[in-house]
């Protein structure tokens, strides 16, 4: 394989990996906070993509401009899901782990149905925005601009998440993560922190969805395919670890790109899954998970 081709594959893996990382970051944040895996996470991303599509169709506004709008929408939706469903799921006396999984799973099916109800089952895509079909040529390595923009935004979002962790709110978040019951004693409203955590998690995946909509088709099932990768990313990086999500996301992007290039494109995820199982054999709590 010539060097230029290797670089091209590696660049493609990196660009995709950063998006995986941001999708996973939201999942990981929620998990770290309250031990809940959101099985509707991919569907939240799908909703963000449809939101971009709908607003673009209605107003012709460029997806990039819609970024803050959709991020705020998803933030609100995340909080609403927490208040309406998750808080209840956490308060059941028995089978809490199972109830939590299947409540979010039922929600995922519901959202998929709702999307199909509103937008139909066919694939849609956002075309003609100002980055569409343009690419950057770095010494023979072609980087499609929508993807470059997406990964830059993802990096910025990560930086944003890190900055949040420095604020008062971030400290309350960290304290809640350390000891759920003790924070009540020092006057932190746990419920509010959890709701904000869901808002942030959904907002993060919303940002990823907006950027993804710039170069990826939108359909009711688009979330499901990303979700599996997101779960793998989170488990590989270690539940609750932001750095883990970033490293694992990029790693998965690269493994996927190279499996596709060297072996067989339709088996690219098998490479990812194999690496994941291998790592978990040696580090059962992921690369950066607390042992």
């Amino acid at each position: 394989m010539p060097v230029a081709e290797i670089l091209q594959v590696a660049a493609g893996g990196l660009l995709m990996g950063l998006i995986y990382a941001l999708v996973a970051a939201g999942l990981s944040l929620i998990f770290g906070l309250m031990d809940v895996v959101n099985f509707a996470h991919g569907e939240l991303m799908m909703l963000a993509m449809y939101a971009v599509f709908a607003i673009w169709q209605l107003t012709g506004a460029d997806p990039l401009l819609l970024l803050p709008v959709v991020a705020v929408l998803l933030f609100g939706l995340g909080m609403a899901i927490y208040r309406g469903l998750i808080a209840r799921a956490l308060s059941v006396q028995f089978n809490r782990g199972m109830v939590q999984i299947f409540v979010t799973f039922g929600l995922a099916i519901f959202i998929r149905g709702a999307a199909q109800f509103v937008w139909g089952g066919e694939f849609r895509s956002v075309t003609g925005h100002w980055l569409a079909d343009r690419s950057l040529n770095l010494g023979g390595v072609f980087l499609p601009l929508p993807q470059v923009a997406a990964s830059l935004v993802c990096l910025a979002a990560f930086a944003g998440l890190l900055m949040v962790s420095r604020t008062e709110f971030g400290k309350a978040l960290e304290a809640t993560r350390e000891d759920r019951d003790a924070v009540a004693l020092i006057g932190i409203d746990r419920d509010r922190i959890f709701a904000m955590g869901w808002g942030l998690g959904a907002g993060a995946v919303g940002i990823a969805g907006v950027m993804l909509a710039g170069f990826y088709y939108v359909g009711p099932n688009v979330g499901a395919s990303f979700a599996v990768i997101a779960y793998v990313t989170v488990a590989l990086g270690g539940f609750g670890s932001m750095l883990g999500a970033l490293v694992a996301g990029v790693l998965i992007g690269e493994v996927e790109a190279f499996t596709a290039a060297l072996w067989e494109p339709s088996l690219k995820q098998v490479g990812v899954f194999a690496v994941y199982l291998l790592v978990l054999t040696f580090r059962p709590r992921g690369l950066f998970g607390k042992m």
């Binding site: 782990g97 488990a235 199982l277």
Partner: protein, 327 residues
């Protein structure tokens, strides 16, 4: 001796006989094929959910990858029939064996993981199976395998139009899973599994070998799921990775047990009796529009039942001294 365990087990046997008799008679007055089909699918999924319940319920290892065993079972009996001439009536048992054995190498890495790490690893293993079959030409790849019709026969489990034989086939399967769960519940294994589910550290301190307990549960659970897959393949006459190995089958298999009530004998059947008709009916009356209303209803139902009845629908029928079981 007289205690709640013995009293409950007597009641369960009686209940089992009554329900079995009722289900044996149920299809006799029904002439319409749609309803017959719905009952068959419901009973089949009651059996599959009971198979899942052995690992996911009693042993508490929430597997979200059972589509692998289901699909592999379907492929094993089908391919043995097409390529080696083994009649599917025997192929069912081969499917049981292969899927059960497959659960061991799957369990080996996965059972080192706990909680959500385990659940996600099972999703991944299931996806790997799906992708490999999709790209494996020997098993028909994405095109799948068609089972040609060679005339009505119990050996080959083929019946042209009659639904009744299939009904008794799935009923025998579901009864076998129920009986297995019943026997295990009262055995050393069943106690070990429930101990593992409740508290691993305490179970270990009482001499329960955690890893082999999980492996045994996985093998039995995988084996029965594979057998169900073989029956399903025979019933529909055509399988491809999307119709038997896709990830949503894993959820479909687990859901009746979860919503009906995990680690109970009747939860899987009750769950299937609610979920399968709900999903079928909403699909045929609302799904035709392609507008997703069926999915919204189905998803909404899952959310509502899970929140309103975290111990499962079976708790609606619970007796006072059964409360510990449902908890």
């Amino acid at each position: 001796m007289d205690n709640a365990i013995l009293r409950r087990r007597k009641r369960e046997v009686l209940g089992g006989v009554i329900v079995l008799a009722a289900l044996a008679l149920l299809p006799l007055p029904i002439k319409d094929v749609y309803t017959q089909n719905l009952i068959i699918i419901t009973v089949l999924f009651a059996g599959l959910a009971q198979a899942w319940n052995i690992l996911g319920g009693y042993c508490g290892q929430i597997s979200l990858g059972h589509a692998l065993y289901f699909g592999v079972g379907g492929y094993v009996s089908t391919l043995l029939y097409l390529k080696a001439g083994l009649p599917p009536s025997l192929g069912l048992f081969a499917a049981f064996g292969v899927s059960g054995l497959l659960a061991l190498p799957v369990g080996w890495p996965c059972f080192r993981l706990s909680g959500h790490y385990y659940a996600i690893a099972t999703v991944v293993v299931g996806e790997i199976g799906y992708l490999l079959f999709l790209n494996w030409d020997f098993v028909g790849g994405a095109t799948g395998v068609f089972i040609p019709f060679h005339g009505e026969s119990w050996a080959q489990l083929q019946f042209k139009t009659a639904k009744l034989p299939y009904h008794y086939l799935v009923l025998a399967f579901a009864a076998a899973t129920w009986l297995t769960a019943f026997l295990l519940e009262g055995s050393r294994w069943g106690f070990a599994w429930r101990a593992v589910k409740d508290d691993v550290t305490a179970a270990r301190s009482l001499g329960v070998n955690i890893f082999s307990s999980k492996m045994a549960a996985a093998a039995l659970s995988g084996g029965f799921t594979g057998m169900g897959g073989a029956i399903y393949a025979q019933y529909v006459g055509y399988i491809d990775p999307d119709s038997v190995l896709a990830g949503h089958f894993s959820i479909l298999i687990a859901l009746p047990a979860v919503l009906g009530g995990v680690s109970t004998l009747w939860g899987p059947l009750i769950g299937a009796a609610v979920l399968m008709p709900a999903s079928e009916l909403s699909r045929s009356y609302l799904g035709g529009s392609g507008r997703g209303v069926d999915l919204m209803l189905y998803g909404g139902l899952i959310v509502i039942v899970a929140l309103a009845r975290p111990q499962g629908l079976v708790s609606l029928f619970g007796r006072k001294d059964d409360h510990a079981r449902i908890a």
